[in-house]
């Protein structure tokens, strides 16, 4: 049985960590400016704790992203097939993107 091609959970984890790091930095700056305005001491906000994801969460996230890509290709392929074309082009993708982005 052919193994299904999917995203590497470690790669997904690296992307998430990058996004979390960015968000934490922004949150830290916002808290600092809020504390300076309210003249309170060092921030002890619980929101500054790092975010983690376990193995199952990463696998699920990889599967969600794989579904997104697969769904985009399948929907565009349906449009291309209806037009009698054998190659998926930009025009086919343009027509399915609005609903796809709203669905996901």
């Amino acid at each position: 049985m052919e193994k299904e091609i999917t995203f590497d959970p470690d790669l997904i984890h690296e992307i998430f960590k990058l996004a979390w790091k960015r968000k934490a930095a922004e949150r830290g700056k916002n808290e600092l400016s809020e504390n300076m305005e309210s003249e309170v001491g060092a921030s002890s906000s619980k929101r500054s704790r790092p975010t983690f994801a376990n193995a199952n969460a990463l696998k699920l996230s990889a599967e969600l992203l794989r579904s997104f890509v697969a769904e985009a290709i399948q929907r565009a392929a349906t449009i291309a097939e209806a037009e009698g074309s054998t190659k998926i082009e930009a025009t086919h993708l343009e027509r399915i993107l609005p609903q796809l982005l709203l669905d996901f």
Binding site: F7, L18, K29, V69, A70, R75, E81, I88, L97
Partner: protein, 144 residues
């Protein structure tokens, strides 16, 4: 799932929103950099993060190419490279931003649970103390 979603008519408003998103992604070759870049403390850190983002996006794109080509093959179709690039960029943004939304929801849910936790903890301790007293009572059986 695919056929059902296609049959449903799209309202004007939803089509307009979706088209705007799609056009913004199709025209902009590197949207992900701007989305993830939010103001860095130093130029060096900014450049480092940009290079990390580039690397991750390229690795992500390679995976997307494999998945997209496999799906297209199943449908008996070919898919052009710009299409795969566009889908890859969209999925990359989805991974970064959707995750952010989910993290925010989960975090607020966690904080709500912890806010209720002191009451639950008190009840649990009360119950365990009661159980302890009952157990002690049972152990102290009088000598007959």
């Amino acid at each position: 799932m695919t056929q059902r979603r296609f049959d449903r008519p799209l309202s004007r408003a939803s089509f307009a929103i979706g088209t705007e998103l799609a056009n913004a992604t199709m025209l902009n070759n590197s949207p992900t950099m701007e989305d993830l870049d939010g103001g860095m403390a130093s130029e060096v850190e900014r450049e480092e993060e940009e290079s990390v983002t580039h690397l991750l996006r390229d690795r992500f794109r390679l995976c997307t190419i494999s998945i997209a080509e496999a799906e297209a093959k199943q449908c008996g179709m070919e898919v052009s490279q710009p299409i795969i690039t566009c889908i890859s960029d969209l999925a990359f943004k989805f991974a970064a931003h959707r995750n952010d939304h989910l993290t925010t929801l989960l975090r607020s849910f966690c904080n709500d649970l912890k806010a209720r936790e002191p009451n639950l903890e008190r009840k649990r301790k009360k119950n365990s103390r009661k159980e302890g007293r009952v157990a002690q009572g049972l152990l102290r059986t009088p000598d007959t």
